[in-house]
Amino acid sequence: MRPPLEAGRWARLETLFYAAVDMDPAQRYAFLDERCGDDVTLRRDVESLLESSQKTLDFLHKPIRQLTESLVQQTEHAGERIGTYQLLKPLGEGGMGRVYLASRADELYRQEVAVKVLQPGSKPTASMLLRFSAERQILANLNHPNISRLLDGGITTDGSPYLVMEYVDGVPIDECCRENGLALNQRLKLFCTVCAAVAYAHKNLVVHRDIKPANILVTREGVPKLLDFGIAKLLDHESQAPTLTRTAERVLTPEYASPEQIRGDSVTTSTDVYGLGVLLYELLAGSRPFQLQTQSPLEAMRIICEESPDPPSKRIAADSGSSNSKLSLRVHEELDHIVLMAIRKEPERRYVSVAALARDVEAYLEGYPVQARSDTWSYRGGKFVLRHKIAVVAAAAAFLALVVFSIGMGWLAKRASRARVAAEQQQLTAEREAQFLASIFSAATPEQAKGQEVTARQLLDQGARRVDSELASEPEVQATMLDNLGHAYDRLGLYEQARPLLERAYEFRKHNLSAGSLDLAQSAQDLGNIYRLEAKYEKAEPLFRQALAIREKTPGEHGELLSDSLNSLGECLFLENRDAESEATLRRALALEGNRENVLAAVTRDYLARVVGRKGNFNEEVRLLEDAVRIDRQTEGAESPDFAISLHNLASAQMDLGDLLGGERTEREALKIRRRISGNDHPELAYPLNNLGWVLLAKGEWREAEPLLAEALAIRRKALGEKHPLTAASLNNWARVLEAKGDYAGAEKVFMQALGLIRASSGPQSWATAKILSNLGLLQLDQGDYAAAEGYARQALEMRIALGGDDNNNDVAASLIEVGVAREYQNDPASAEQLFRQVLGSRRKKFPAWHPDLLAAEIRLGEALLTEGRLSQAEPLLRDAVSGAHSAPFPLLPWQVAEAEVTYGVCLARLGRSAESKAALSSGVPALNTYPEAAMHRQIERLVHSVSQPPRT
């Protein structure tokens, strides 16, 4: 039998194959002799491959072709019978499946229905099945004269789910209005009926999300019916925390898609308001607000999110040659306002509900004043309306690897302070920037001046276009302007826009300025930053090195520039998991800075703190951060963002040190300051919220943690979108809340989501991925599936080791413990013991006697020994744990102390020392109720129970 295919072996086979394949037989023989030596199987393997290398795979073509043809012929369903329904003819198809006209086939009852079958012919994906069953569930609950009713459902014999619905024999609503030449009032009345249906759906917590004429059919009797809840979403009040239906959220019809759907923001009832608004627009004006047919997708997206459409009355006037001239063209200004209010870009500025929209339309019909008012944002000369997105929001994007879920890292936002580096340089740039922007501003078109919103984005886009056209002949100026624009985009967090501009500026300078030019260094630095923010470290690093090299060679005082480059480089290396180099670089920066206490010095300390923290050197971490905090308070003040960030980082370090309660206090302060300076919507808020949430979870107080983590998740979703790694981090934390609540299924789903997102952005291996795997393992433990728990724990362990973690690394130790616990619960205390000993060994070297992590190792080992009945070995261990817990320099969490006491108490009981045992147990047991880990809690309780039963006589 041939050996199974495995990576190492394959690699060897490959090398040998390539080398030998073109040799002549004699050469080959000798070569294989030399390379394979005694390994007969290897040699045979290579030889057989070499033999096969002469053959072709042409024989595959025919079967593939045949199967394709047969496939195509058999997937037609029409004529088939499904259940008691006979399919008659196809009515239409969409992404999810096909709809057929069918009739009920038993003799008693003749009824025409519509049958929707999920994707025939091929295995449906899990997400499709989910959507389909969601649709079924949604429709089952909706009972309204204007919503197509669900009659039946099931699974066909070949496994495809199907729905049976009321067949609506009608035409799309826009066609209906057109063909029948309906007057304005009639259209509006029809529209109100549709609104009633949608409002009903909303009352039943369903958002349709795909409102468009094709989904609203009007019967011969003039009754409109709402169809296709295919991508409708159930808004569940219970789980306010958004669950993932990302794969179910799909923009089906771009022209009807709302800005938030396009951006991937959370979709609410307001999205349906938007859809209804577009519908109303179309019913009034005869065309859609945005003409997207000829646009590229990205352009279409931009238009929907940014451009303001003509009001319907204006569109009608422009189209007055069309068939709509039959329609009374007196679309009053108020209708314009109603429509425009419904299709505002920001959900919160639209009608608050579909009912409100309908009410306004009815008010118009009856001659009452309407609620909608025109949208005036008048232009004040000299200023423009800036949609301000702090660069830090996207700055966080880069630091994926840094995202420690249970301990958020706010220092990412240190990026903002970068802007203050090299103050003189920045000043100049800022001036030039302002100049250029001012020049753009003054050339703004009259339309923009007249009450429409102007965004900085629009101005920058204009600027970008002008740079190309106006400055083509002045490349040096162009390069500078490109730089400026790049910066401006950067500040707004628009990295995709910034990058090409900065790339061009860089290229230009590379080719036209001397190799040692400081401008070139600046460009390299700026471009490197963009790449870093986009997590393209392999591109960022050489640029930082280039900037550094230039700055090093430049004579004169360039301490700050050098620090800046060293900091960036150090950070980049850390993100690439090259900790040793990172540390060296940052220490160099530290040495350079000496006793200077400026922003750069604080930044260096922040970064270095993280590096040493990852090594497990928490004391130095805390020291560095305390310094950073102090510097920030001095240089920036106690109400400054930098200070809030440093406080947050310090809190994290305290938690690393084991001082959770102290960390909680610091973090609360950081949160308070952050709320004060940034308000409640700011993405920065997410960091302290996450940390606090984590601590509270660790304390066992999940009820307090819940609102904080929900808030953090909501903020991240809104600011960063669904797919962002930091959103994934928040999802991970949210899953832990669900777990604490006991919603294991929910927790698992969300963990998986987070896992997928992190893998998508950081690749298959990263500390973050390992963390989630580890969490999944703990979840399995809670559910009692110990084998699965072990599986996950091992995966996390392997990954952490592969990333360079060694015995000293606390994450690796945590994994070892998890594997051990899983093994113990699978009745293998011997393996568990071995693993725990290993961890104990390394933690004893690292931690002082009171550190919770060391205590945990002692207790786990003690527990395992207890289970094995080796009381005399368990006792001293547990005694140490108890005395350690009592000797901590700061208060530990109640359950941390209790765990030691109770386990010790059980040991004492088994040793017959009942008085001491009682004391330990009575002290510890009450405090166990906040123990956060369900499975281990159960285990301890079992142990307690085992010694509190009175002995049988």
Binding site: L5, E6, A7, W10, L13, E14, F17, Y18, V21, L49, L50, S52, S53, K55, T56, L57, D58, F59, L60, P63, I64, R65, Q66, L67, T68, E69, S70, L71, V72, Q73, Q74, T75, E76, G79, E80, R81, E93, G95, M96, Q119, G121, S122, K123, T125, T157, D158, R246, T247, R250, P254, E255, L292, T294, Q295, S296, P297, M301, G756, A760, S761
Partner: protein, 194 residues
């Protein structure tokens, strides 16, 4: 461009940037289009009833996206289609295998102008399994074979889709073919191999 093509382009773009979920959403769209086209091919009066997977894919691409996309994006699209075709064919092969063993399907029988030999489904299933085994240790070679055989792509297109050079495609294909040939030749269904 139809609205669908905007969506497809968007999804393709996302998938290229590493978003695997975009692939999930792309697949049904591609599949639908492929089927629609294939039906047309067979129902129209064409002298030859031979249907090449490659023609299908090319035309699907054109219909879904149009010619304006740069050819590297097209290459990625073909790679998606190749994956789709493979998945579809394997499912289909499995279902045909099942039917041979007497699965019950309530169908009004359709005309089948083509009699499918028994070997085709098994061969494809074996190929799929072999590719999967290969993918565990070397996913790139598996992808190369998938692109070339299921997607009917050229070497250049395969190279573009997988971000490697055509020379690499060529070289890796040699051993991939050799290995596959060896694997498939061991199976009873593949007796008719030259």
């Amino acid at each position: 461009m139809r609205p669908d093509s905007q969506l497809v382009t968007l999804l393709l773009h996302h998938w290229k940037n590493g978003n695997e979920e975009a692939l999930d959403q792309l697949m049904p769209l591609v599949y639908e289009e492929l089927r629609r086209l294939a039906r047309r091919y067979l129902s129209a009066e064409r002298p030859e009833h031979t249907l090449r997977a490659t023609e299908l894919v090319h035309e699907t691409y054109m219909r879904l996206i149009g010619a304006e996309i740069d050819w590297q994006d097209r290459a990625h699209f073909y790679a998606v289609a190749a994956r789709v075709i493979r998945r579809i064919l394997v499912d289909h092969a499995n279902s045909r295998n099942c039917r041979k063993r007497g699965g019950d399907v309530e169908r009004v029988p359709l005309d089948e102008s083509l009699v499918i030999g028994a070997e085709a489904p098994e061969m494809i299933v074996n190929l799929d399994e072999a590719l999967r085994r290969l993918a565990v240790v070397d996913s790139r070679k598996s992808d190369i074979v998938q692109c070339l055989y299921f997607g009917g792509m050229t070497y250049d297109e395969t190279a573009a889709a997988l971000n490697i050079s055509a020379a690499t495609v060529d070289r890796e294909l040699r051993i991939a073919k050799a290995w596959l040939h060896r694997e498939l030749a061991r199976n009873p269904a593949g007796d008719t191999i030259s």
